[in-house]
């Protein structure tokens, strides 16, 4: 059975984070951007759990931290979707490129 080391977790997390980052920067839809943010949060959680498992196995710090992060990002996504809904009511669109009222 192949031993899965920490570098594999870190690599997977890096891939997920990069995908999330790309989505957050490049997607047009606000909902897709929020989903990409979730993806980045997942990558961070994965790092926390993996590093905690491999570096300090006797303690559960990373796992606890990951659970907190998941709670916070759930609340955050709720808030974000509410904002998107409010924006949609105002402007009838959720395309970020057309929401630029704060243009200087």
């Amino acid at each position: 059975m192949m031993q899965v080391g920490p570098s594999a977790f870190l690599a997977l997390a890096a891939v997920l984070f990069t995908l999330g980052l790309y989505g957050a920067v490049a997607r047009k839809s606000a909902v897709m951007v929020l989903m990409s943010l979730e993806l980045m949060a997942v990558a961070v959680n994965l790092n926390l759990v993996a590093l905690s498992r491999f570096i300090t196995p006797s303690e559960m710090t990373g796992q606890f931290f990951a659970i907190f992060t998941m709670v916070v990002s759930a609340a955050e996504i709720g808030l974000g979707l509410a904002l998107v809904l409010a924006i949609y009511r105002q402007t009838r669109t959720i395309e970020l490129s057309s929401i630029d009222e704060l243009k200087g």
Partner: protein, 635 residues
């Protein structure tokens, strides 16, 4: 004897009460002045009776002094000295003042500032009473100046008109010229004696160096010449006739103008110590007596005739003192005060009735105003010196003193002045009361005006017989005039009256006065132009003064103002430079900073696109750069 202090104090208090009141209240309170002066008259009678029978022993019967201040070691005090001379003066002043005040109640009734008139008249009386009671030169000087003020106020009483205004200024300034002499004399007296008291000063007069006595005496004489309108400082008195007639009677005939004579009489020991000053006094008096009489001959204004007559008679008094007849001079002062105030009050009635002061527009008043004609006539005859009226006695005493003093030239000049006096008196009376009437609507004055005149007439008619008693009262040997002198002076007086009648009084006399003018053209012109005194002053003093003032004003506006303006302009330039610096340096700096901020802002706004993802890219770029920096640094 302390009631003596009340004599000047009561009228002064009356003025102090009247002065701050409103005009209407003052008009209602005018009786206060009359009452105060009346009370002073009563007290003066008591004071006089306490001095009687006078003589040398009665000197300084009452003497009191209250120090009021100390200035540089000099004790200044208000002091009262009641001696025979001041007792006589008290009576004269208060009697004439009461008569004038009663007369004024009717004469000034319709004036809307009558209360102020009575107030000033009362203040004047207070000052004159203080002057005759003063025991030192300093207090005399103070009262002297207050009288000058009152004179100024009363001459200019109708200050709505141009003539009274000018006359009051002229009177004030002319007398002030003399007053400067008084002030300097006071300084010399204090420097010499260290006191102003009469007794101290006059007692020491004999021991001074002759120059000092002469200087003081001449300066005092100069002051007296201003106050008593002696040539050449007489020019103010005729103009002073612009004031109310009763005020002229009191101030410019009876009392204030006599203050100069009183001063010379008081300071007589100084004049006697000098000798020269006595001669100068005689000279001034003689010239004034003659010139004043001549000028009175040609005046048409009834009050101006009386004014020049006053000048002339005051000249007589100076003449008398100058020839050594101080008692005669003082007696003439007394008699003149009564008959001249009588004449002025009569003139007031005449002016009231005929509404003019010009004698050419009068005539025939005697038929309608018999009582005025009689009383005025008695006053006029007294002025002319006709036996047995008071003027005869006092004038004879003066002539007597001149003859016995060996001043024969003065004696004959005085006789000539007496002739002139009689002539203008006749002219005055006949022009006004005789001849054809010019109008018919003439009314005799009211009883309130005639009563004071009657009182004065009685005094004028009878006081002459008191001549010897008067001399002994003042401590000199009394005597009746020398019959020869009495006869000669009477002859001259009747000659003057006769000529006056012949020219103006005859039934077929030429009514137009041009006759004299044609007969004596040049002389008449010189006299009519008042010996050119006013013209000389105009050209010698007033014009150069105005010219100098204008030159100074020009210098002021051109040079002094130029300098000031130059400084101001320089400051304007400095201010402009500061303004330029402010705008171009300080403001510009501030503006440049603001401009830079604006440029920066408008450039920076371009990166503020409002797109969330753009900002994310910035963050991402920055993160990448940051990580690169760590990697590079770590390597």
């Amino acid at each position: 004897m302390a009631y003596v202090a009340l004599i000047p104090l009561l009228p002064a208090l009356a003025f102090a009460v009247l002065a701050p009141l409103s005009r209407r209240a003052r008009n209602r309170m005018r009786w206060l002045g009359v009452g105060a002066v009346g009370a002073s008259l009563a007290l003066s009678l008591v004071a006089f009776s306490s001095v009687w029978p006078g003589g040398q022993d009665a000197d300084a019967l009452y003497h009191a002094s209250w120090p009021i201040a100390q200035v540089g070691g000099a004790d200044l005090s208000l002091g009262l000295l009641l001696d025979p001379v001041s007792a006589v003066m008290l009576l004269v002043v208060t009697i004439v003042a009461v008569c004038v005040q009663l007369y004024s109640l009717a004469y000034m009734r319709d004036d809307d500032r009558v209360g102020w008139y009575f107030g000033v008249l009362t203040l004047f009386t207070a000052a004159m009473l203080a002057l005759v009671l003063a025991d030192n030169f300093f207090m005399l000087y103070m009262a002297w100046e207050v009288m000058g003020l009152c004179s100024y106020l009363l001459i200019g009483f109708w200050h709505e008109q141009e003539a009274p205004r000018r006359a009051s200024q002229k009177a004030f300034l002319t007398t002030r010229v003399g007053d400067v002499g008084f002030a300097i004399a006071l300084a010399i007296i204090y420097a010499t004696v260290g006191s102003f008291e009469f007794t101290a000063v006059l007692g020491a007069a004999g021991s001074w160096a002759p120059g000092v006595a002469t200087a003081i005496a001449l300066l005092l004489l100069f002051a007296a010449m201003g106050k008593s309108a002696q040539v050449p400082l007489h020019v103010w008195l005729p103009d002073a006739m612009a004031g109310p007639t009763p005020a002229s009677a009191l101030i410019h005939a009876a009392t204030m103008v006599a203050a100069g004579v009183y001063l010379v009489g008081r300071a007589l020991p100084i004049f006697e110590a000098s000798g020269v000053a006595l001669s100068v006094t005689m000279l001034v008096g003689t010239i004034t007596a003659l010139l004043g009489g001549l000028m009175a001959m040609v005046q048409h204004d009834i009050k101006k005739v009386l004014a020049y007559s006053t000048i002339s008679q005051l000249g007589y008094m100076f003449l008398a003192i100058g020839v050594g007849g101080a008692v005669a001079g003082t007696f003439h002062l007394v008699t003149h005060a009564f008959f001249k105030s009588l004449l002025f009050l009569g003139a007031g009635v005449i002016i009231h009735a005929s509404h003019t002061q010009d004698m050419r527009e009068m005539g025939g008043l005697g038929r309608h105003m018999r009582w005025t004609a009689v009383t005025f006539g008695i006053g006029a005859l007294a002025l002319a010196g006709v036996f047995p009226l008071s003027g005869f006695w006092s004038k004879d005493e003066i002539l007597d003193a001149a003859w016995n003093g060996g001043h024969y030239a003065v004696f004959f000049l005085a006789l000539a002045a007496a002739f002139v006096t009689a002539f203008y008196v006749a002219r005055l009376w006949f022009r006004v009361f005789a001849g054809p009437a010019q109008t018919d609507d003439l009314e005799e004055g009211p009883a309130t005006m005639l009563l004071p005149m009657t009182v004065l007439t009685v005094i004028t008619a009878t006081i002459g017989f008191a001549a010897p008693a008067f001399s002994s009262f003042l401590g000199h040997e009394g005597h009746w005039p020398d019959p020869l002198i009495a006869i000669s002076s009477s002859a001259v007086a009747f000659a003057g009256l006769g000529v006056g009648w012949w020219v103006y009084g005859r039934r077929d006399a030429a009514v137009d006065t041009n006759m004299l003018k044609e007969r004596a053209g040049l002389v008449y012109t010189v006299i009519e132009r008042k010996f050119y005194f006013d013209d000389i002053y105009e050209h010698l003093i007033i014009r150069p003064y105005i010219w100098a003032a204008e030159a100074l004003a020009r210098f002021d506006s051109e040079h002094v103002d130029g300098g000031v303006n130059g400084v101001a302009t320089a400051w304007c330039r400095v201010a402009e430079a500061a303004w330029w610096f402010d705008v171009n340096v300080v403001d510009r700096m501030v503006n440049e900073v603001a401009h830079a901020a604006r440029v920066a802002g408008s450039n920076m706004r371009r990166i503020q696109t409002g797109g969330v993802q753009v900002y994310q890219r910035y963050v991402l770029g920055a993160l990448v750069l940051f990580m690169l920096w760590i990697v590079v640094k770590g390597a």
